[in-house]
Symmetry: C2
Subunit: 296 residues, 2 copies
Amino acid sequence: MRHMETFRLIEAVARAGSIRKAAEDAGLTASALNRRIARFEDEFGARIFERLARGVRLNSAGELVLQHYRAQRSDMARVQSQVADLKGVRRGHVTIACSQALLPYFMPEQIARYRREHPGVTFAVKVRDRARAEEELAAMRSDLALVFEPELMVDFEVLHQIPQPVCAVLAPDHPLAARDEIRLRDCLDHPHIAPAAGYGVRYLLDMAARRGSRQVEPVVETESFELIRHYVLHEGVVGFQIPIGLRPGGTSGLTVRPVAARDVPPGLMLLGQMKGRVLPVATSRFATQLVQALGE
Amino acid sequence: MRHMETFRLIEAVARAGSIRKAAEDAGLTASALNRRIARFEDEFGARIFERLARGVRLNSAGELVLQHYRAQRSDMARVQSQVADLKGVRRGHVTIACSQALLPYFMPEQIARYRREHPGVTFAVKVRDRARAEEELAAMRSDLALVFEPELMVDFEVLHQIPQPVCAVLAPDHPLAARDEIRLRDCLDHPHIAPAAGYGVRYLLDMAARRGSRQVEPVVETESFELIRHYVLHEGVVGFQIPIGLRPGGTSGLTVRPVAARDVPPGLMLLGQMKGRVLPVATSRFATQLVQALGE
DNA sequence: AGGATCGGTGCATTCAATGCACCACTGGAG
DNA sequence: CTCCAGTGGTGCATTGAATGCACCGATCCT
């Protein structure tokens, strides 16, 4: 869309922090870009950039303008998607930011199921922790977010939520594998492997451990859930996961036992969108499917 | 705002039903406008106008585009208003579509009260019947609507509602003026003056009369509530109004008596906005004031 | 048949956007 | 301090996208 060129450039300048840099990236001269911005500020009626000695920075008016542009851009995408829909083309593109736990089983299954019925719809799956996922939504770089225990910003509109108890993941020959339910203190007494700080599971574990005057002291700390699942098969340590990230049948050679809910309260897996946005057709349908799948 | 010129022209063409007419109005040639539209359709990826023998008409894709433009325009106005606000200018413009009954007392009072605290805010008050008021909101030509018994379209978001009983308006020497409450059949037995079809009061009266196998047969039928209020002083007829359109004290020389609620159920006065819109600062504050005033 | 009105198109023109060269200013390194 | 690198801002010539003009073919109404 030709008419939002200026907005696109404004966004580029805001990102680069400098008119010259942004101009170079955009393939035009600094003077041209400078004048575009000056002209926009004239028409708009207010400065949108603070002029610093070493560059520029968006002021609060500029933040509002940028937010407006992003909303407008995403709405235009929605309109195009709806038009494509009524042309019978049945195309679309769904962008979703989700927690790592959904990568092995849940998301692949859901996307495959959807694409079986709508092969024209393409997907972008971004892996974001709970804080970054909400940023994605706010900047409208993603249409949906499916995250575990997010910090719930004001702009996050919850479409569905399900509780997810924290589970211990063990090799079948681990001493704790015999029990049906495991206490947190038993996990902490054994060597354990845990996600790094910032992840929902770790957050719940830290809170619970502190309540029992204990500490989570993992022998291995990692950002990869996949590493956790595989590592417990190599060394007799206790791993932690949530059920949605584990194969339901348990054919993967892992033993899964819930950690006592009275020790570690279940966290919430939330499906959400940017508040007030009208989602494109394909996205909206996919969200509906997710809600249904989560409900089962 | 320069960048939505094309959208503005598209709207003009849609309204005029002809590229040539719209071009003339806009002060450019038909060929230029034609090409602008063709270029937009190219970029957009779909036709937005049906080409007819005698002109053009928006197709459904075009309707979506126009709706997008209106939403975007109103959001830009909101952004500018917020920026003006944080510049300390405290300016703004409130556009409200309302029923005729609010013109004599309610709206003047409310606007004056608001402007006493915010002299920089200007107002546009459009008088629209209940059907047209919702059109105004949908096309974003008005920010708020305060209407009696609207038909409640899907895009109408109710901010507040209060019941309004239908009242008989009489000269003090009218035979019915002696009673505290008046039955509908008594009104219909006397000569009466009523609003034209399409107005909320008339709608309620028609429904109620039909239930009693009677008919509303006014000696004078008018679109002006003001005429009704004044006419009852000239001829001994029964007029109909809702309380919010009458002076509370009753110093206007009129006698007001409620029509029995078991005959004519009270209608609803609804304050609403376009669903999902973020209102400009000034408008939002004014809406809050209206809600409070209606609550009293 | 014929006039009126419509959308669409080829070609010359124009003016707004751009590139270039340059200025003034700032901050940090030598 | 000087000097340099990097920034935003400006006057002037240039260019190309948008426009106006003239014209075409189609359609509708008289």
